[in-house]
């Protein structure tokens, strides 16, 4: 995650971050009025933008996703849960290009081979699940909504945009941006990646952590599993303490994995 700090020293990356954020918010805001589940979440075709921007602008897109989501929240009201939304979107914009660099190794994200398509789906899923985990975990920690509501809707919402819209935009803009030498690798050529083995280990930790968090979050917040090592009071709704104890280590594992990538 070193480049998340290093990018702020590059003026062009700062501008690309602002552009990514504004594009995300510009699509997010008009769809605020189309709720998917009223009071919980809305239809978010805008979620296609962080994925596209991630492959183009790398770390600038990660911050752009976080800031863009914050601007979207400003339109419909902010709350403490939005702090988790900020970091969830940061990872949603950060994971796609990082995970792609590990598993596709230099392949273009607009390649149409079966391997490239499978890799694309995998990286989008990895990004979507961690984003959902963080928002669901945070909202349940604050006892606002159960993990199982947001933790699942966000995966669906993110994946629908990432699979239906992002490829269409990416196919149209990626070759143009590459020709214009505006890809993050062109703008920040000085940045060097870690050895592949370390990044692959990071990806494994990410997948293990986010899958564990998603599974445990769902089991605990629906009451299907009441861990025996917790007191009876902790395993009752709103499950905030149980979620804190059971899900937090998995979230931490996933974040460590992202750090190594």
């Amino acid at each position: 995650m070193r480049e998340l700090g290093a990018m702020w020293r590059n003026t062009r990356m700062v501008v690309l971050c602002a552009i990514s954020a504004a594009l995300y918010a510009a699509v997010l805001v008009p769809f605020k009025v189309v709720p998917l589940i009223p009071g919980v979440t809305e239809l978010r075709p805008a979620n296609a933008i962080p994925i596209v921007c991630s492959f183009l602008f790398g770390p600038a897109a990660a911050w752009g996703a976080a800031i863009g989501n914050m601007i979207g929240d400003f339109f419909g009201g902010v709350g403490p849960g939005d702090i988790f939304g900020f970091f969830a979107n940061l990872f949603y914009g950060y994971i796609p290009y990082k995970a792609w660099n590990v598993i596709a190794q230099g392949q273009s994200p607009v390649a149409r081979s079966p391997g490239a398509v499978a890799s694309y789906v995998a990286v989008c899923l990895a990004a979507s699940v961690l984003c959902a985990d963080i928002v669901g975990w945070g909202d349940n920690l604050l006892s606002f909504r159960p993990f199982s509501i947001l933790g699942n809707i966000i995966v669906f919402n993110n994946m629908a945009s990432a699979l239906v819209l992002s490829p269409l935009i990416l196919i149209a803009v990626y070759p143009r941006v590459r020709r214009g030498r505006m890809l993050y690798a062109d703008v920040m050529p000085e940045f060097k990646e870690r050895p592949w083995s370390v990044r692959a280990a990071g990806l494994l930790l990410l997948v293990a952590g986010e899958a564990g968090a998603w599974l445990m979050g769902n089991l605990v917040s629906t009451g299907y599993w009441a861990p025996s090592f917790l007191s009876a009071a902790m395993t009752q709704a709103p499950y905030d303490k149980a979620i804190a104890i059971v899900v937090s280590p998995f979230i931490l594992l996933a974040v460590v994995g992202v750090g190594l990538m």
């Binding site: 003026t11 700062v14 501008v15 504004a22 805001v29 752009g64 902010v78």
Partner: protein, 261 residues
């Protein structure tokens, strides 16, 4: 459609120091967080209603009235599914309707509505520059604050250019309303691409213009806008501390809790 909620007025609350406003946001979130019982949340609602009256923010509350109603209704309903405490008043499938679950769900719904109301008040009285100035005072780096401000400024520009593209495509006979919901969303992809490419064309010149003006030369650049701390800011800070303390005492003494029986 107005994108942001800011209402130009010359009230005492509008004139507060940006850092005090960010602190007020935090104190309201803090106060709402500690109590669960709907009755304990009512005094905060009264404080917010008074602030809305003083600041003239009612038009924004009216604009978001359905969001408030839906947040309370669906949150109450969701918790009546998950919070299965107390004897059921009526036997319903899936929903556990008891006095405790109703109170708990309503309390969560009101909490979220009050958080929303807090943010509406904040956004009705705070400009983007003030918000970023407040963040800067709290230690957020200048470049991050700049990216946030630039993103806010670019959103209406991108929405405008998207509307222009939509009108141009309509003139050429392109029908955005054909097909089901998914197809309709996909039909907007040709709108996103020119907006995206137009934004990228600006990125290079924007970065050069910024560097020509010495962007990033100093870690703490000077600003045209100065926000002096006045007596009203100190009084407001003291009142906010008192409010936060009172709500923590309500929590600590157990008056804000809901008994599961």
């Amino acid at each position: 459609m107005p994108i942001f909620l800011y209402i130009e007025r010359a009230t005492f609350i509008h004139r507060l120091h940006p850092t005090v406003k960010v602190f007020a946001l935090f104190v309201m979130f803090w106060s709402v967080y500690w109590v669960d019982h709907p009755l304990a949340l009512l005094p905060l609602a009264a404080v917010m209603a008074a602030a809305a009256q003083i600041t003239g923010a009612w038009p924004n509350f009216y604009r978001l009235r359905w969001l408030f109603i839906l947040v309370v209704f669906f949150t109450t309903l969701a918790w009546m599914v998950f919070y299965r405490q107390g004897p059921a008043l009526i036997n319903l499938p899936l929903i556990h309707l008891s006095r405790a679950s109703l109170l708990f769900g309503l309390g969560r719904g009101l909490k979220l509505a009050e958080l929303l109301a807090t943010s509406v008040l904040f956004l009705s009285t705070t400009k983007v520059e003030e918000f970023t100035a407040g963040l800067a005072r709290l230690g957020v780096p200048y470049r991050v604050g700049f990216a946030i401000t630039l993103s806010f400024r670019l959103v209406p520009l991108f929405i405008d250019s998207a509307l222009t593209v939509v009108q141009a495509q309509n003139l050429r006979g392109y029908d955005f309303n054909r097909g089901g919901p998914l197809e309709r969303v996909r039909r907007y992809v040709p709108v996103v691409i020119p907006v995206f490419m137009g934004a990228l064309r600006k990125a290079n010149s924007m970065a050069m213009a910024l560097e020509a003006r010495g962007f990033g030369m100093s870690r703490q650049p000077t600003s045209f806008i100065d926000y002096p701390v006045e007596a009203g800011d100190l009084a407001a800070t003291a009142a906010l501390f008192a409010l936060g303390a009172v709500y923590f005492i309500i929590y600590y003494t157990g008056y804000g809790a809901i008994s599961p029986g």
